[in-house]
């Protein structure tokens, strides 16, 4: 075996004259002027190999090589002919004049061209032959970035005294949260393990156990109907610390964020990071994870609307709806077709319509303009800080719909109007989320974050009187309008935890049955503690400038949870089910 002395990304002018051996894949080949050229590729780069006419049959063997064959080549490093250098390659100054060739493995014609730009072949084919798609240098860069990100996370956490502790994958099903993946137990027929949605309870128990500062890059699982950018298994940086309050967790995590921003976004962040109260985020941006790379805040128009005869506004006021809008700078140039498109866009999000008003030299222009008195038009412009050439967009609907539509419009227009550099980053916290949300269907509260969250001290009395108003000691990290992570200060007081379980509709017996070990731990010396979890797949996506989570994972699953390469999930042998004492109620597909 002709074993390599160098990688395919390593050789340069300083190696000229040396005899070297390279190993790799044939990336391309061509015959030119009696010579045979091979581009040899590995993870580190591409090197040009030249086979000259010879008596030994070496060039003839090289001419048989095809794309993706795996070979070893020995040769002498030489300068390329003047004008033939390739400055785009680190090895572009040299070529290797081959003296020996070893074919390690042939390759059949690949089902798609590795060198094609990403997405050129259809995604199903690429996922089926994932081991080929993973050969693309752009894809390799993503997994190398992921490796470096993992390294940085572990280095920084360790530097700050956190211990990485592994928690079980085979755990117990918990009644709160998303749907669990279950694992039938063979030794205990009729009983099941569950795969963890997060190591939440384990990390809290580690705090009770005195480990003080814990982290883990942990695999988590949710058996949910998958949306575009969700995977049934995903990875998070899981963190928990003891003897801390709200500010301490944010402070500590910011040390990590600063490192990440420096290394992966090329930014020098100043601390503390911007913080928005949940309520303010909703009022100003209509969403709890606003993209703060640009302004375009929402404005409230209810007071002005009350002074118009515009039917849309009058009805909205009657229903107790919100009337809110935003100003799109320079978008008065939008055509009627563009505006119909925006109206369609908010209708798919549930709004009944979209009011648009172009700000022109002559005044406001739009179907609603005629219903708006002159003074209201002026006040509108002032409130929107709208200048000639801008477009005002208004939604009058139930609060949730109004916010959802305006937030989506804002995100879309921010991009369409190029209000920010898409390669830039903005990091911020959104804090003080509601503790509970009322689930009308189930007739009980559900936890907004999870059931182990501590209320804000000043809201504790509301737990008895008005639980829906209780704010949590909760925080989300927001990057470029994406929720990159979230956490809370936990409830270390068994009495408060019991009250929360009660609000969640669990009787004391049910709480004991489901979370007995946690309640028991809280009664046996639990320190104040809190933590956070950051979504690693999403961090990779953001820092790699990608839009699909699938591109950030070595072996991802489709939106239907299938691994097209291995064929998982798949039917199993009847013997396996007999061993587990279970039966499927359908014929396998």
């Amino acid at each position: 075996m002709l074993k390599r002395t160098h990688t395919c990304g390593e050789l340069n002018a300083s190696h000229i004259g040396q005899t070297v051996t390279l190993n790799g894949w044939v990336d391309g080949w061509r015959d030119l002027g009696g010579l045979t050229f091979i581009d040899l590729r590995d993870r580190y780069g591409v090197t040009q190999i030249v086979f000259e006419p010879d008596d030994s049959g070496l060039q003839a063997r090289a001419q048989e090589l095809r794309a993706e064959w795996v070979v070893g080549v020995q040769g002498i490093v030489a300068a390329r002919l003047p004008g033939k250098e390739n400055p785009k390659l680190t090895t572009g100054a040299i070529e290797v004049r081959a003296t020996a060739l070893d074919v390690f493995n042939q390759a059949k014609t690949p089902p798609f061209d590795i060198r094609g730009v990403a997405g050129e072949a259809n995604e199903e084919l690429r996922l089926k032959y994932r081991f080929l798609d993973l050969r693309r240098p752009e894809q390799q860069k993503v997994l190398i970035l992921r490796h470096r990100l993992n390294q940085t996370l572990r280095r920084v956490m360790s530097q700050h005294g956190f211990l990485e502790i592994e928690t079980p994958i085979l755990g117990r099903s918990t009644p709160e949260g998303a749907r669990d993946f279950l694992v039938p137990s063979r030794i205990h027929p009729g009983a099941f393990y569950a795969l963890p949605q997060s190591p939440q309870l384990y990390k809290q128990l580690l705090m009770v156990a005195g480990y003080d500062r814990y982290f883990q890059i942990a695999r988590c699982f949710r058996d949910e109907d998958l949306r575009a950018n969700r995977q049934p298994e995903f990875t998070q940086l899981d963190v928990e610390m003891s003897f801390v309050e709200f500010e301490d967790v944010l402070d500590t995590i910011e040390l990590l964020i600063v490192e990440l921003a420096r290394e992966f976004a090329g930014m020098d962040l100043s601390r503390p990071l911007p913080r928005l109260d949940y309520r303010d985020a909703m009022e100003r941006y209509g969403v709890d994870r606003p993209d703060l790379r640009f302004g375009m805040e929402l404005h409230d128009l209810a007071d002005l609307a009350a002074h118009t005869e515009f039917q849309v506004f009058k009805q909205a006021l009657d229903y107790g709806y919100r009337i809110r809008g935003l100003c799109a700078p320079g978008a008065a140039r939008y055509s009627r077709k563009d505006l119909d498109g925006l109206t369609e866009f908010v209708k798919t999000l549930g709004a009944k319509g979209l009011v648009w008003l172009k700000v022109e030299e002559t005044g406001l222009n739009g179907p609603a303009a005629k219903f708006l008195p002159e003074s209201i038009q002026t006040q509108l412009r002032e409130r929107f800080q709208a200048r000639v050439g801008d477009l005002m967009l208004i939604v009058a609907d139930a609060e949730a719909t109004t916010h959802q539509c305006l937030a989506a419009l804002r995100a879309k227009l921010g991009g369409d109007l190029k209000l920010y550099d898409p390669a830039s980053f903005h990091f911020s916290w959104v804090v003080k989320f509601p503790l509970l949300a009322w689930d009308a269907e189930e007739g009980r509260f559900v936890a907004e974050h999870h059931p182990f969250t501590m209320p804000l001290p000043e809201d504790l009395p509301l737990l008895q009187t008005d639980p829906a108003k209780v704010r949590a000691q909760a925080y989300d990290l927001v990057i470029n309008g994406e929720e990159a992570g979230g956490g809370t200060i936990r409830c270390h007081d068994p009495a408060i935890q019991a009250r929360i379980f009660e609000l969640l509709g669990l009787t004391p017996d049910q709480a004991e049955e489901k979370f007995g070990f946690l309640l028991s731990a809280l009664r046996l010396g639990a320190p104040p503690h809190g933590g956070i979890a950051l979504g690693l797949d999403r961090l990779v996506m953001l820092f790699a400038g990608l839009t699909s989570i699938r591109d950030c994972i070595a072996f991802p699953k489709t939106a239907k949870g299938a691994d097209l390469m291995t064929g998982a999930p798949a039917p199993v042998e009847p013997r396996q089910l007999r061993d587990l004492r279970i039966k499927t109620l359908v014929d396998p597909v």
Copy 2:
């Protein structure tokens, strides 16, 4: 909240006079000479707090504190009274004279004493209250060692150009190897994911995909009947590299072993590590993972036995059995009861009996001695290199039984006779294992390591003519008689791989059905590659000087696969099973 300025392991004489705040658990308390002493404990150490008589009620509040209460204490660092220093504590020179106390949480009386020595409370109780057992400082040291070990592994692998790449937990069931844990799919009713027994196929595909050097600290799963030191989920350092041969993998992994030995065993290892061929290991020690901290090799006696009238030997020769033995230095002092114990010991391992011969001044002494002619006795002593005072032990049985019994005897006697320092370490390789083993029950070969292993080049022709004789390019790392890991050079040649599948009893269609994606990958440009997996739980156990794997895992399971703390596995809601379209065939326990 009285938030800490220091940890409980940090203060010493240099801090005297400073006002500090500590947080932690009450480890002990006592009233003495009008003062109240509290030992405050956290992960970092223990500090003595003194409450003096006062008017503010502070001491009275301190007197209410009980074991495992969680508190914050503010006070002034002071020198301990002369003669009251505790040199065993890093903080033993000082105490903190309390000025303020904050009780964060009370604690009920723990079900067992945290300060008790390990194993004092019964293990079931300790596992049920694992969060308390984990508070024991000795236990905390183990998980801290595990954290450091993980760090070292990742640092060294990264330094050598390996990328950590995460592979799926939700995979596909494979027909070879141990029993899989299955995960029913809700989206694909009737189909199942399987939890990986190792990332074997994924790491090979990563090599085909050109990642060149991969590692992962990976969770693996086996649904086997658990033996004492097995867990249903375990962790391994998983490694794979491309463009390598046998020696290259061993070379690279030795770089890692040298680091581990230095950091965790305090040893300067010289490379290369000792290597034993499998066949030699079996002949010299009766086992493929000998403890090489001592000698006591096995000797073959068939030629000598042929010249005796001893019935046991004659029968053994008739049956084609092996007659082998070892010499236990200084063990001629063993009583008849001791020797009966050893005989019982080998009988439980399947031997029909044990021949013992004490070497005394007057000659050999033992029931068999009278059947052994003088010259044979002399030759026996010479072969065993036995001196007066030694004990010769002989087993005459089928080869597997003979080796199993003598290997177990050797391990036991090595410890009993103190032939080595139990705190010492010995690292070695055992190499060139058989590729296949004949499974008489199934009437086919099974893979000794796994089905993707490359035969030794010189044994390739035997794949056709005598498959049982084929040796594999396989290697095990052995530390102190424990298999710490193992690996192989993989089969990158689709034709050889197809022949191996055939020997394993898979028709080409079955091979394609089960491993189609691997075979397809081998045909699309697979480089020569190989790797290894090291058992992390076992490494922690060895380096921590422990004997139970359970002590090396934060939240372990019992031998029956149960988590006594959470109660997993447990029955689930009927709705969950309906969603999955499965039914259990038993009532839940």
